[in-house]
Symmetry: C2
Subunit: 204 residues, 2 copies
């Protein structure tokens, strides 16, 4: 079967680590809300961050269950039959009750992980976060205990009788590609572009 679910921890971690963003679902006044945000994984914990004023993070203070989905689109599966068109993907779903991170060290570690998750190598180069900036960021932790992966790989699966048709079939692979970096016009002229920017790619 090309499509399958899994509780394999390494697979789940690799998908969470490769994806740049996740989609967080929560219930706000009875209605479902879905918001994209940046995440990072540290061991068995998923961290999300944002402004303390954001509706998502305010809602998380309640301790109510949330749901996080991460999806990587790997390819378009073009079948002979329109009905059998599909996508190759890797996806992770996490359910759980978020915990507001109050410990300053855990918060700093999470913010470092989030920075490194997006641009590996960047944290050590950045102007470090001030006490005020750390305080002004809300970080929540979600345990990865209720996490599962789902993926599809491989070519199209057509009906037996359709393989004789003169219709093209196959897969169009898709990747997220970094273009040439756009330098901030206000950058000091003596600062060169670091390799972690010029050689940026996903997966790292």
């Amino acid at each position: 079967m090309p499509e399958r679910g899994s509780y394999d921890r390494d697979l789940i971690n690799s998908i969470l680590d490769e994806a740049l963003i996740c989609h967080v679902g929560f219930v706000h006044e009875g209605a479902p809300v879905v918001i994209p945000t940046i995440h990072a994984r540290l061991g068995e914990t998923l961290y999300l961050h944002g402004s303390p004023a954001s509706r998502m993070l305010r809602s998380m203070r309640s301790g109510d269950e949330i749901s996080v989905n991460v999806t990587l689109v790997d390819g378009l599966v073009v079948a002979r039959a329109a009905f059998h068109n599909s996508m190759n993907y890797r996806s992770v779903v996490v359910f759980g009750s978020p915990r507001i991170v109050t410990d300053t060290q855990e918060k700093r570690d999470a913010l470092e992980a989030i920075t490194e998750h997006v641009v590996p190598g960047r944290w050590a180069d950045s102007r470090e976060m001030t006490e005020k900036e750390v305080k002004g960021t809300l970080v929540v932790a979600l345990p990865l205990t209720e996490a599962s992966a789902k993926m599809r790989t491989g070519g199209p699966g057509d009906e037996e009788e359709d393989y004789d048709l003169a219709i093209w079939a196959g897969v169009i692979p898709l990747t997220l590609t970094a273009g040439e970096a756009i330098v901030d016009p206000l950058l000091r002229v003596d600062v060169a572009t670091p390799e972690y920017v010029s050689e940026y790619k996903r997966p790292v």
Copy 2:
């Protein structure tokens, strides 16, 4: 301001049309669920489809409100201060109560739109859907009346005093890129790869 919200219909439509997948949020037994799926827009309506057995689509039969988010990541904004790192993105949120599509013609039109949304030019080339396949697909329609866009563009916004620092800053642009198509090994040898496959790109 680099980050802004908008009700501009053309902007909303262009984001919905460019994104390959959306994330659907719904409430299932009191808990929020987020599921990635393929969508397509026809005029002022967003269509989603799936197996009638899928939890998402079964849940939609209730007529309860759902939420759909579509997000395109355009670039990584690397600021001097870790606190000001950001992403350039274009995102759309839609709220509404889905309607199960029962009219056969509307259903066929939606399935054609979904196929054409993913691989433009493909529908006319495919083995067309049988009556049984159309019946075996659940299609839901969501009006785009409650839709809004949010996006961020441009370079980093650092603190005034940080511009003197010898720290690189700028944007790493990201695009979804199609690789060379992988031909189904079971393809008839006399079938050439069509141009809509070999020249595939997003946005179309």
